[in-house]
């Protein structure tokens, strides 16, 4: 019996030693492979992180995430299976998801290695070598100087972004004061700074255009300003701290999302009535609520369709309903994400004119739109956000529309956007230049 157990132990440890050897062996291969692809070498030795970074090397970031999660789950299940080795039924029960995960991992692995083969511009047949002799193939690809990737991962951790303003604005008694130091998130083994050093003050009665390319941080900026996703920042609206009084101020800030997220199977009237019940003060009388509902129907041209189902409305009517739902609480700060998407020029113009009226009523209106030039005359100011060299959203301009043209040396908003967009996005890649120029300008003004 004792001899049997000793033999079992020896055979187990030999198996474990072999697994460890294979892991280390392939890790060495990954060290060299990661180096070629521009990934930090230390990730080659860390389980799960290695799988994710392999996905990055293969230009398959999403698959890398999936692969990493699946490998993590497999580890957990394998540990459980090891613990319940003597309980045959539990062991068998656990083996079912293990088999499922194994198949999933193989699929992810195939996708990632095919991606890697594409990045290294090699024949697809290499996939067989990767799947059957992974450690040796990885080592070969890592050590052989003939295997060179066609694209490398940019390591942005060492890149210094454009210089900062660094000075906080003094909170004004009226209007919106934004002082964002930083907004960062931890995302799969790395910290990403989404926004940095944004300081501005928007007076009441202003309609502001928020301009920025894809990934410049427009949504992050809006979420930070409205308190929906808190940043390292101080945001005040009429000397009230939005972050500190978020619950109380929730209805003083209206946000209209890009999509018309309204239930299609309810009537316009009932949809607005429910919004009134939810967003008006509980102390508001029935008369006040009814008046407000009537005013919304009138202001947004929904009176004639008030008994219609939302599904039966036209695109423009639905958009106006979506706006009315937020405006019913009469917010001081009103933010709209692409309210003109899906609308023709005439409809869009009418919509922006009604927003201008809202701003003229002493409100702050901030609008994101991808076709700003057709309605730019209605805006007072423009905020230009741009990705700097470290891919962080930065403030490249905040001020009057006319001065923006002069500052960027352009004659339209679309040209301004192109000038700050990255070169790989078809832009001029001058974001850092304008961020720094704007910082200097602010410093000069503030002193």
């Amino acid at each position: 019996m004792t001899t049997e157990m000793t033999q079992k132990l020896i055979s187990l440890s030999a198996q474990q030693i072999y697994s460890l050897f294979t892991y280390l062996f392939s890790s060495i291969g990954f060290v060299f492979l990661f180096k070629k692809c521009g990934v930090k070498k230390r990730w080659a030795f860390i389980p799960m992180a290695r799988e994710y970074h392999l996905g990055l090397c293969a230009d398959k970031e999403k698959d890398g995430r999936g692969y990493c999660i699946m490998v993590g789950l497999l580890f957990v299940l394998e540990i459980l299976a090891e613990l319940f080795e003597n309980h045959t039924r539990i062991y068998l029960f656990l083996s079912i998801p293990i088999i499922g995960l194994f198949v999933t991992i193989m699929v992810y692995l195939m996708r990632i290695y095919l991606g890697l083969i594409k990045v290294f511009e090699r024949k697809k047949l290499w996939i067989i070598a990767f799947l059957l002799l992974e450690p040796y193939t990885v080592l070969l690809w890592g050590l052989n100087p003939k295997f060179v990737p066609s694209k490398k991962i940019e390591d942005l951790s060492e890149v210094t972004g454009a210089k900062e303003i660094g000075k906080k604005l003094i909170t004004e008694e009226e209007g919106l004061t934004v002082n964002i130091q930083k907004r960062s998130v931890i995302d799969f083994f790395k910290r990403k700074i989404l926004l940095k050093d944004i300081h501005l003050h928007i007076p009441k009665g202003h309609m502001v255009l928020l301009l920025g390319g894809s990934g410049a941080g427009k949504t992050t900026f809006i979420n930070a300003v409205t308190g929906y996703e808190k940043a390292d920042a101080t945001i005040t609206l009429d000397d009230k701290d939005i972050y500190a009084d978020y619950d109380k101020m929730k209805h003083d800030i209206g946000f209209v999302p890009q999509q018309d997220l309204v239930r299609g199977n309810d009537t316009v009237m009932m949809t607005i009535s429910d919004a009134a019940l939810m967003r008006l003060s509980k102390y508001a009388s029935s008369m006040e609520k009814e008046n407000r509902i009537a005013r919304m129907l009138d202001q947004f041209g929904l009176e004639s369709v008030k008994y219609n189902l939302v599904d039966k409305l036209s695109g423009g009517q639905r958009k106006r309903l979506s706006i009315a739902l937020e405006f019913i609480s009469d917010p001081t700060l009103f933010i709209l994400d692409e309210p003109d998407s899906g609308l023709d020029g005439v409809m869009a113009r009418r919509l922006f004119e009604s927003l201008r009226e809202i701003a003229d009523g002493g409100k702050i209106v901030v609008v994101i739109t991808h076709t700003p030039d057709r309605v730019i005359d209605l805006f007072d100011d423009v905020i230009v956000l741009a990705k700097d060299a470290s891919r962080t959203g930065r403030l490249a301009w905040y001020g009057p529309v006319d001065e923006a043209y002069e500052f960027f040396g352009k004659s339209s908003m679309e040209e301004i956007l192109l000038s700050v967009n990255q070169k790989d996005e078809g832009g001029e890649g001058r974001a850092d230049e304008f961020v720094e120029k704007y910082a200097d300008r602010v410093k000069e003004k503030v002193g």
């Binding site: 039924r89 949504t219 946000f255 009932m270 009469d330």
Partner: protein
């Protein structure tokens, strides 16, 4: 109208706002279709297995299993898509001050009404189809009310499980993919209908079919019913010859001629009683409590999961 008095409608008020919305959608959308659907399923089941339910042990077990499955099916279909189909709207409304607990509470009340209606419809259809109903009452003075409550608890438990799936799934396709998988688990782990290994038996406590089936069998006085399977199996061998004679056939003729058949069937039932199906108030109440317990668990998890809806990507 700048709202300095920043007090808004509370959780209870919000629940009623959403409840109104759900009942309007019941009319405007196709939600009402679940009611005639439950009638059709009940008719099909009573046509297929209603003949022997509450008459023989085998018929009762099979019928109870079928009725539990009907309830689970109804519950699943009631709510599998209700949350997932408006996930983006919920995210917007949560941002604008909607309480998730109020939203889920409104669904709970609305679904409870649907489940009550479906249970009543199921009983009515079964009676119309001539299916025998339980005769003895255990918890309330009325056997039909006891039976109806069991059907309601099974349906509602399954309904809340589907609501949970609807909260977890990101798309309606994903929810509809998970549903059949759960249905199989509910059927397979119902405990008494399929013989399962002893190690797996604790898993049957997770399913509403197990508690529903047990409660229905208990209410149907399973242990006092005759068992016919032994008789029927033996009858198939009546022509078997032993030394040129047919001893089984002779025995059957003797038993029939002397009216021993029913006595034998009852004796057969007596020897195959299952203490879990005793006609006992404690058993039925225990089953109801398990069903309610799971319902509460599903609701709590649903609320917790939906609280994270803000993390949904655009």
């Amino acid at each position: 109208m700048n709202q300095d008095s920043t007090r808004y409608i509370g959780r209870v008020g919000q629940t009623f706002v959403y409840l109104g919305k759900l009942f309007r959608m019941f009319l405007f959308q196709s939600d009402w279709k679940v009611l005639p659907m439950s009638a059709i399923i009940a008719a099909l089941v009573s046509f297929a297995v209603g003949g022997n339910i509450f008459k023989t042990m085998e018929g009762t077990l099979m019928g109870a299993f079928a009725l539990s499955c009907v309830c689970v099916w109804n519950g699943f279909f009631n709510s599998i898509q209700v949350i997932v189909r408006e996930r983006a709207i919920i995210k917007r409304e949560h941002r604008a001050g909607m309480h998730i607990s109020s939203y889920v509470a409104s669904h709970m009340i609305y679904q409870a009404v649907l489940c009550v209606l479906q249970s009543v419809i199921t009983i009515c259809v079964c009676m119309f189809m001539g299916m025998k109903m339980p005769q003895g009452s255990l918890v309330t003075p009325f056997p039909l009310v006891d039976f109806g409550l069991t059907l309601f608890f099974i349906t509602y438990c399954a309904d809340m499980l589907a609501l949970l799936i609807s909260c977890i799934a990101k798309t309606t396709t994903a929810a509809m993919t998970i549903m059949p998988f759960l249905l199989i688990v509910e059927l397979l782990f119902s405990g008494s209908f399929f013989s399962l290994p002893e190690d797996v038996m604790p898993l049957t406590n997770l399913t509403s079919t197990k508690w529903g089936l047990t409660a229905i069998c208990s209410q149907g006085e399973y242990n006092s019913l005759p068992m016919v399977s032994v008789w029927n199996s033996a009858l198939k061998m009546k022509d078997m010859e032993v030394d040129g004679e047919k001893p089984l056939l002779d025995t059957f003729i003797y038993l029939e001629e002397n009216n021993y058949r029913d006595e034998l069937l009852e004796k057969s039932g007596e020897l195959n009683q299952n203490p879990e199906f005793d006609f006992d108030t404690g058993i039925v109440v225990k089953c109801w409590l398990w069903l309610l317990g799971w319902t509460v668990v599903y609701v709590i998890i649903s609320v917790i999961i939906l609280e994270f809806i803000d993390r949904d990507k655009r």
